[in-house]
């Protein structure tokens, strides 16, 4: 990965921290590539959500050309019912990407608030809150997701709710550990000594310093949420056909691995690219966000 030296050039510092991070990120080639790929995927998902026709086919439109190999007419071939796989992959991105991002966002919000409270307060509040996390952790994810799926109902909302419910604990623990560590740092004590109230103290000093590990953790939540969704769909609690996600496409496609490998190749390629991109982006963001690299200059 990129080194600190690479980043410490004059022009990247600016008054606005977001611009600084962006400029730093631009210096890391893998992160830029990952950023581009993720942007394309997200754009694709949004286009599909808005109903922009990117291909001449509809995702559930069957035809008589069954199991066709990739060609100019069908870029990724067709499936067992003659549906265009490219169209289905685009349609699938809508759910996979939005589930990944939403889950990560919910985990970020809930986990950070929860972990920050526990880490900042310490003592009895901390042990109470953390026992809560322990209990939530000890419940098997799949069981919770199935129960929620049954209670909330099938379909996208059910999946989103279930995944959000099982994915925030890791972030909470991480944030708590970061806060406890930072609390005894000198700059925090200095800020407190200057009389900074609690809320600005957390926002200005704790969070930016804890952000690196949180972002890295989030980049792992995104791909794991994409995969969990496919598990749910696979056991019949997720989407009902003909709706599809990359997970269901891959689950359906692997049966034909020996005869029609294109059915699994393309969905898995998209899952792979997205997961890899999120990992690279996370790595890049960690370097770009780390305030210690800024101090070193």
């Amino acid at each position: 990965m990129s080194t600190i030296e690479q980043l410490s050039t004059k022009r990247i510092e600016s008054g606005n921290p977001i611009i600084t991070v962006w400029r730093r990120l631009k210096r890391i080639p893998t992160a830029v590539v990952a950023w581009v790929i993720i942007s394309v995927m997200v754009a694709m998902a949004i286009a599909s959500l808005l109903g922009v026709p990117l291909t001449p086919y509809s995702f559930d439109q069957t035809s008589t050309t069954l199991l066709a190999d990739p060609s100019w007419q069908h870029l990724m071939g067709t499936d067992e019912l003659g549906r265009d796989l490219f169209t289905r992959v685009i349609y699938g991105s809508r759910l996979s990407i939005s589930i990944g991002i939403t889950t990560a966002f919910v985990a970020l919000v809930i986990g950070t608030i929860y972990g920050a409270t526990a880490g900042y307060c310490e003592g009895k509040v901390d042990s109470l809150l953390m026992r809560g996390v322990d209990i939530a952790y000890s419940l098997p994810d799949l069981l919770v997701m199935i129960l929620v799926g049954v209670l909330v109902g099938r379909g996208t909302q059910g999946i989103l709710f279930a995944l959000a419910l099982v994915s925030w604990m890791g972030t909470a623990r991480l944030v708590r550990a970061q806060f406890m560590q930072l609390k005894h740092e000198e700059f925090i004590e200095a800020a407190r000594a200057c009389g900074q109230p609690v809320f600005p103290l957390i926002c200005k000093h704790f969070l930016p310093n804890a952000m690196g590990p949180i972002i890295v953790a989030l980049t792992f939540i995104v791909p794991s949420a994409i995969l969990s969704e496919s598990t749910l769909s696979f056991i019949g609690l997720g989407l009902s056909p003909p709706a599809c996600s990359w997970g269901t496409l891959a689950a359906d496609g692997w049966r034909s691995l020996r005869t029609h490998p294109h059915l699994i190749l393309f969905p898995s390629l998209f899952i792979f690219l997205t997961v890899l991109s999120f990992n690279f982006l996370g790595d890049g963001l960690r370097d770009a966000l780390d305030p210690r690299t800024r101090l070193k200059k």
């Binding site: 067992e80 009902s240 049966r255 005869t259």
Partner: protein, 576 residues
Amino acid sequence: MKFLLPLLAVALVLVLVGAGWNQKSIKPEPGCLRINLGTEPPSLDWSVTVDNYSFDVIANLMVGLTQYRNNLTCKPSVASSWDVLDDGKRYVFHLRKDVLWSDGKPVTAHDFVYAWRRMLTPATAAQNSFLFYDVINAYEFNSGKLKDFQQVGIKALDDYTLEVKLRRPVAYFINITALSPAFPLRQDIVEGFADSWSEPEHIVTNGPFLLTKWQHEYKIELTANQRFFEGEPKLKKIKYFMVPEPSTALALYENGELDFIDNRSFPTPDVERYRTSPMYHNYPLLRNNYVGFNVTKKPFDNKLVRQAFSSAIDRDVFPKILRRKEFPSSCWIPPSLMGYDANSGPNFDAARAQKLLADAGFPDGKGLPPITLLYPQREDVRLVVEAMQDQLKRNLHVNVELINQEWKVFLATCRNDAPQMYRSSWGADFPDPETFMSNFTSRNGNNHTRWKNKTYDDLVERAGGEPNQAKRAALYKEADTLLCKEESPLICTYLASQNILVRPWVRGLEFNAMDLQFFKTVWIEDSSPLSFRGFSRGICRGSSKFESIKLNAVKSRQIPRIARNDKGCRISQRSY
């Protein structure tokens, strides 16, 4: 990411080594047939079980009064002979004295009477009890109107003589005596062990194999029964594995860990790879697939909506999607049975379907409540219902939501309260249209559509007792038209075929259109070098076309007043 490269290298080496090993290890396990059942059988209680997973195991554990041959005629079994008296209304079975239960006690007529009484007792709730409604007072007893079992027409005249009285002569009665609900039961075992009597440590059977091991959700093991009255079978052991995922089962077969796989373990796309292999066999089945409507639920309480849905389906796509030589059919009676007429069912006509839906008050599908279709979780079934969903959307502008359930849950849901639409199939219990037609009579426990029609009931009732073959066929045809075209509580889709891969060392295997998998004649040839040529022609046998399924439904010796049907019930000349 640096650890990724060595990891990949290790994985590659493992794959290569694995591939190398595979080459060597494909050989039979001496004396043992290893097959995949696909799922845990819901129950081995042969009086109440209705699904074919359970029945495949039971068929090798038990024998009844009569037994099916592979050409689907019945031969004497526990009953060495029988007299047909009173114009076919009274049967007297003479039981062999050398048939023993696996604990050494003889099989007596009382065991049959007990089994039938238990099966017909309302509290047992055996769905298959309708098969016996031709026995005097059986329906009355089963529906709780009659409390005294003495009045039901089955009686043990002595230990080895069984008398059955029928309320009307029916052509297919002898076939019913070969079915699992008619098998004998040991009262001391069933009542002594209550719900666990069918576990290997308690069960007592009389067939060619014994249940020796049942590791739930993993494996059932049968071993040869040395006391079997026809002689000990050549196979020492049968192992039924329960691998639900077809691809996994196929991989096990390819690795030489299974000797025989069928549709349950054969992923649709992989059939392509084996089409020319001598290990591959395809034969037609007497199994009709359908999507039923629950007619008590809106909008399918309206006949026009049901007709519209049925007319909007183009059945010709199913063989193209499944690619296993399925036979598209819009009527309920299969082509090889009497009463079949391709025109009994509706033709595909999108314009007519739309008009019917508009007539029902839902022009272009507007105003319809949300519609759900329930299907069991299986790959080929998913493809079929997805294709239907798409056709309904395209031809009728109706959106149908698909919901899948695991097999046991699915069966329970359909039995308790079927959703608006559900996908199911029916395999023949005996080679006669009655087995299909009786499914939708109002008294039948398998009629999850809740559709009740007096005319239909009358037609099927009359056809069952009709001695004249031509008249009987006409009655069934009329009932079939009423069922599929006019009332349409179901959408018939296609007739299934069985696809098999079998290792060349499995000898003596025979196929039949009812998909009865009897293994008492099978043996494992594990010594000589194997030649594929002799094997594919000579040893595995079965019909190859739906119209020419070979059956001699009824023999005149068994039923005096009913004409012989020697032509094998060839009805249709339609080429396939």
